[in-house]
Amino acid sequence: MTGATSEATFEQLLQELDETVRKLEDSELSLEDAIATYEKSVELAAACAEMLDNAELRIRQIDTRIGRLRNGIETELDAFEDDDEDDDPFE
């Protein structure tokens, strides 16, 4: 990955990938250029996939946190409500 692409968003990368593939599909490239273009499209696809893998991982982490959060609140509330309310708070 070049410095220029590492700054790019996923959408920009995907667009670039699409343009690259279109070039591969539409135009009459020299073999050299076709191979270079193909290589570039694979690199772009790999960069996209990596970003998506990261996104998936983050979503999974967030889901885990949400689950923990919800269980935590429920558990603490239940613990509170189950407290023996007949205790004399002044004793």
Binding site: L14, L52, F90
Partner: protein
């Protein structure tokens, strides 16, 4: 020497009688020897005793509170004031209370005062003040000796020990009792720090309780700026002080119970409040938690998982397209190459030689020999087959065609 007219004498005597401490407020005992009731409803009767007689007038408005009217022959005791009846030049007793003889004097005095104060509104329930919920300082007017002070201290110590108790010591029976009770009450009121005052004594005979039936004490209680609790004797005794006080306690111990809350009650009330508070707060937390869970659900339903899946599909499809495009390009090139190969195969002279043809070229110049004349002229030629060349000499042919 004075010379007065009749009216002046009458006025002078009336003034004398009406300002006299005995004649202006007197109980008279005697037998009713004549009785007359006027058309207007006023009663006139004579009280006799041996040779003495006293004319009495009992006006209609004074009769309302009487249980029975006197009649001739009754031995009675009458209360009122003595004054002059101008037109007859005679004195008479203006009666405001009359009861059969044998009724105790104290009882009659009590009834008379009670009636008067009641009419004045001193016992009116609407002017009774509520006791403070939690007093800071309690005044007590009673004897420093005796059980009352001790009982009150004991009850307060048990129920609500943090309250301050102030004693205004006073005699509670005997000739100085009324004066001392009133003074004690005033001392506490003037000092001004008590939220409530208990005034009382233990049980006793009607004579012992008499100070608590005194009008001056009743008026002092009525005028007090803080609620007064009366606590006189045991339950059956009832005094004027009890009637005028804001709260009547049957005994001094009961008075102490009345003026302070039990610390157990306060603790229970506090515990109850705390429990309510806790329930309210828990309920609010529960509601907030539910709202949070709802929001979290909404967030999770809009989780970008689906977007990621779609994006992954886009990337995969782009990659597929790239592969297909490259594949197609490769195929096209391969095909083109093959075509060219086939074409070049067709044009390859070696292949012709392999089929039995040969190339003849001049040995000296390596030029192709394109005809008979060239060959004859060249003499020496090179014959090239598919697998190599040989040299050959052209014989001159004699024209034998």
């Amino acid at each position: 020497m004075f010379v007065l007219d009749v009216g002046q004498v009458t006025a002078y005597l009336r003034d004398l009688l009406e300002t006299d401490p005995v004649m202006s407020d007197v109980w008279v005992r005697g037998e009713v020897t004549s009785f007359f009731r006027s058309a207007a409803g006023h009663c006139y009767f004579t009280l006799s005793n041996h040779e003495s007689q006293l004319k009495c007038a009992l006006f209609r408005h004074q009769q309302r509170s009487l249980l029975i009217l006197p009649k001739v022959g009754d031995a009675v005791i009458a209360h009122g004031h003595v004054s002059i009846y101008d037109s007859q030049g005679s004195y008479q007793l203006y009666v405001d209370n009359v009861a059969p003889e044998g009724t105790g004097l104290l009882q009659l005095q009590f009834e008379e005062l009670r009636r008067r104060l009641e009419q004045e509104g001193l016992f009116d329930p609407s002017r009774k003040r509520p006791l403070p919920d939690i007093p800071q300082r309690i005044g007590v007017v009673t004897s420093a000796q005796g059980a009352v002070w001790h009982d009150i201290c004991t009850v307060i110590e048990r129920r609500f020990p943090i309250v301050e108790l102030v004693l205004a010591p006073s005699k509670v029976q005997g000739p100085d009792a009324v004066k001392e009770l009133v003074r004690g009450l005033h001392a506490l009121l003037d000092e001004g720090s008590c939220d409530v005052i208990i005034i009382g004594r233990g049980g006793g005979s009607p004579e012992d309780l008499a100070p608590f039936n005194a009008e001056t004490l009743a008026r002092a209680i009525f005028a007090a700026s803080v609620p007064i609790v009366s606590a006189v004797g045991h339950e059956t005794d009832f005094t004027i002080a009890d009637l005028v006080a804001d709260v009547r306690a049957p005994t001094p111990s009961a008075a102490a119970e009345l003026v302070v809350p039990s610390h157990y009650e306060i603790r229970n009330a506090l515990a109850g409040t705390l429990k309510d508070l806790r329930a309210i707060v828990l309920e609010q937390i529960r509601e907030s938690a539910d709202a949070l869970a709802f929001s979290v659900d909404r967030v999770q339903r809009r989780s970008p998982t689906r977007s990621v899946e779609l994006a992954q599909a886009s990337v995969a499809s782009a990659l597929d397209r790239a592969e297909r495009a490259v594949e197609a390009g490769f195929m096209a090139r391969t095909m083109a190459l093959k075509d060219l190969q086939m074409q070049s195969e067709l044009l390859n002279p070696i292949a012709v030689l392999n089929r039995g043809y040969a190339i003849v070229s001049e040995s000296s110049t390596a030029k192709r020999v394109t005809g008979k004349a060239v060959a004859e002229r060249a003499g020496q030629v090179s014959i090239t087959f598919g697998d190599g060349s040989v040299n050959a000499r052209i014989d001159k042919e004699e024209n034998h065609e």
